[in-house]
């Protein structure tokens, strides 16, 4: 087992434990903090994959913005945060069954596919992934249209969020 594999396994196991705590812990504010740990793990996975821009965006957007939004939402709905009764609904056994079924199906698909044993090609040292990504996002030959549509979607969603949460009193 090489050093790469050991680092990957450590990060992956830590991420999965944090993710499991997110869905099982009773206290919601703790769940939000476990989510931050899981998101850090995914950022480390991005760094292992040489996707440096994705790793930075993961930290800035997910941990810096979305997790803070979650913590604010938990605090604004605080009355129900203390553990009154069970945190899982009556059908949680069925939910666990469906999740296990999805996992088995996905692992079955992965193992049935021939490209799965592929190893990564050597990362070309002169290739600058960040500038290539930036060019692809604004180039008319590449992805400028999805990029602009995504920004319009984000603006529309944020205006809608302000409208929905506005207190009319």
């Amino acid at each position: 087992m090489t050093i790469d594999q050991i680092i990957f396994l450590v990060v992956a196991v830590a991420t999965l434990i944090a993710a499991f705590r997110v869905v099982t812990t009773g206290n919601l504010i703790h769940a939000a903090f476990w989510l931050i740990a899981a998101l850090f793990g995914v950022a480390a996975i991005f760094a292992i994959l040489h996707a440096s821009f994705l790793a930075v965006v993961q930290v800035v957007v997910y941990i810096g913005a979305i997790s803070i939004l979650f913590i604010f939402a938990v605090m604004l709905t605080r009355k129900d945060m203390r553990d009154q009764g069970p945190q899982l609904n009556r059908n949680w056994g069925f939910g666990a069954f469906l999740a296990a079924l999805a996992l088995v199906g996905l692992v079955f698909l992965v193992h049935g596919w021939s490209g799965v044993t592929k190893t990564a090609p050597a990362f070309p040292s002169e290739f600058d992934a960040v500038s290539a990504l930036g060019n692809a996002l604004v180039s008319p030959d590449a992805y400028v249209l999805p990029f602009e549509v995504a920004s319009v979607l984000l603006v529309a969603a944020l205006v809608g969020a302000v409208y929905v949460a506005y207190n009319r009193k």
Partner: protein, 102 residues
């Protein structure tokens, strides 16, 4: 070198954990936390396929950026709805929000 299947199985497990959270939690904010885990597992898949395919073809990372934007939009609308429902009904338990039932 880490084989591609490790990334795929890691993201499959992460997706299943998120799915379990969405299906079994009672609190609306906790359901949204599960959705975040599922979206993250999708991003891990996209980045892994980019790395193990042609590295100079940047499409996988562009898709991951779009997923980031959509996740931010989804979570802002979702939490706004949760806060709005909490103002009206004073609860964030999914079972008790049955205004459309008659």
């Amino acid at each position: 070198m880490v084989p591609l299947s490790w990334y795929l199985i890691f993201s499959a497990i992460l997706f299943s954990i998120g799915l379990f959270g969405v299906l079994s939690r009672r609190n609306l904010v906790a359901i949204l936390l599960g959705i975040e885990l599922m979206l993250n597992s999708v991003n891990v898949n996209l980045a892994a396929f980019w790395r193990y395919g042609t590295v100079t073809n940047i499409t996988g990372q562009v898709f991951a950026i779009i997923v980031f934007a959509v996740a931010a939009a989804e979570v802002s609308v979702g939490l706004a709805l949760v806060i709005s429902v909490y103002r009206k009904r004073n609860t964030v338990i999914a079972d008790e929000i049955d205004m459309l039932k008659f």
